[in-house]
């Protein structure tokens, strides 16, 4: 009886629209004018996978963005976690400061990044100039736009990885580390042969959370580039959004959103299996 209200509510606000979304994806459906939706079976999916070069590009872009951001977040997050994993005065303040980037309103912070990336008055080019890097047109450059957007994700979520790994590090027993040090193992050997294997389940969980969320990134990209320049930063999520709300081709957009769901579930499925093997 206790979960009934939640089950009903979730059925109403999530399950029902999901089914409706599948129904939409089977139709030629425009949200404008008075054209009636027309049942076309799986043709939207056929177009998507076989005929739409924009979709395939968006798919690779999404994967590139995700891999770029998550790999850096894991390496950086691990390095910072190892640095912070000791008795530090004010460790609670440090951890709280670290949480601020992932809690702060993403759209608002994305605008600050747009200002910092501005080629004419942005502070980033100025700071890089000080260390000898020539000025760049970050968000207007076809090749830099994805790394520049990934940098925002890295700023937001490296601390998330760090905090999860700190919790994982806290569960590692002290004895094997001590005895390895006494046996004369270098810090690198300790890290590689003792800490990392013990940390593997936590690392997999952290990557799982990050990959799921990064594949779905919307706010930051939409605010900063709206998928541009051209389509250079149009990920699947933006492609679905723009197909629906700029071209009003909602049936096709529903098919794209389902493709994104399949992608997220497939990637998580692989990672969860990987985790089971690790245990």
């Amino acid at each position: 009886m206790f979960p009934a209200p939640a089950v009903l509510a979730l059925a109403g606000i999530m399950v029902f629209p999901s089914l409706f979304n599948i129904y939409m994806s089977l139709h030629e459906w425009f949200a404008t004018g008075n054209t009636q939706p027309k049942y076309i079976g799986l043709r939207n999916f056929g177009d998507l996978l076989l005929r739409d070069a924009h979709f395939v590009d968006a798919l690779w872009r999404t994967l590139y963005f995700t891999v770029f951001a998550v790999v850096v977040e894991l390496i950086l997050g691990l390095a910072i976690a190892l640095l912070l994993n000791r008795e530090l005065a004010g460790h609670r303040v440090i951890r709280t400061l670290f949480m601020l980037p992932m809690m702060a309103t993403p759209t608002a912070m994305a605008l600050i990044w747009v200002l910092m990336y501005n080629p004419n008055l942005g502070v980033l080019n100025y700071l890089l100039e000080l260390v000898g890097v020539p000025p760049q047109e970050w968000l207007a450059n076809l090749y830099l736009v994805i790394p520049a957007l990934a940098a925002v994700d890295i700023w937001q979520y490296t601390p998330f990885v760090t905090l999860i790994l700190l919790a994982g590090l806290a569960t590692i027993p002290a004895e094997p580390l001590e005895s390895a040090r006494i046996d004369g193992a270098t810090p690198w050997q300790v890290l590689w042969h003792i800490i990392l294997p013990l940390l593997r389940p936590t690392l997999v969980v952290a990557s799982l959370f990050r990959i799921i969320d990064t594949l779905k990134t919307f706010d930051t990209i939409y605010v900063m580039t709206a998928g541009g320049p051209g389509r250079a930063s149009q990920t699947i999520n933006l492609f679905a959004f723009q197909t629906a709300f700029e071209y009003f081709h909602v049936g096709y957009a529903a098919a794209i959103s389902l493709a994104l769901i399949v992608l997220v579930f497939a990637v998580s499925g692989v990672l969860i299996r990987f985790r089971r093997q690790a245990e």
């Binding site: 939640a6 809690m103 702060a104 309103t105 993403p106 700190l166 959004f241 579930f265």
Partner: protein, 280 residues
Amino acid sequence: MTDLAHGGWRWRRVAARIGLYTGVVLVICPFMFIFLWMVLSSLKTNVQQTAWPPLFVFRPTLSNYALVFARVPFVSYAVNSVVVSVSATLLGLLVGLPAAYSIARWKQSRLAIAILTARMVPWISFLLPWYLLFTQARLIDTYWALILTHLIITIPMTIWLMIAFFEDLPRELEDAAFIDGCSRLGMFVRVCLPLAAPGIVASAILCLIYSWNNFIFALILAGRKTMTLPVSVYSFMSFNEVNWGGVTAAATLIVLPVLILTFAIQRYLIKGLALGGVKG
């Protein structure tokens, strides 16, 4: 001689300590710099804003904040944001708390997995059908449309966070309440909820923050009357000439309550992250 060696060892320890704290500060600085730049930029005049090299030291002005309140109906957008996030949070608690309790008490792991799965689905696939349905029902640009869609954020979040809190409650207390003739519901309301109060406050604040931050639902489902703050700050950008003073001042005003709330529940956030990570 031994004294000297001892002294050297102590100095090396102090030096290592200083090196460590320098490292910590160096690591934190880049993460904090974005916030610093936001606040600094919000205090600059338009001339200072475009100066090259960018100014770090200047005579600050509050005129951007005055402009945000004068030119933009900022207060009414803030009211919209508060109405939507508070309603979605309260409804989320009302529905989510009993569900979390039941999952924790009777180990309904299937329900827990369903909720975790729901969190993997991108919001766009809920937005598309809701957009068509709300258009049909003429509910676009109403609080109803926003609150209903924000429940997609708050209900799963409440349930997910509260399971751990209810699992920690001592079972004996419930049994005692039972023997004293309490009904299941009375026991839940009078015994379990008060005991889980700190967790409830933390979950509520987290729901408030995520609902407050949400952009995509309001971007499509809100209009002139119900526009929320994250959408309003984005609309600053659509003008040809971006007023960076106004944008950064508005951004500061939107982010500030979130940062304060984060500090208020930091203890639970750290614990929650640890649980999520280790238990998975």
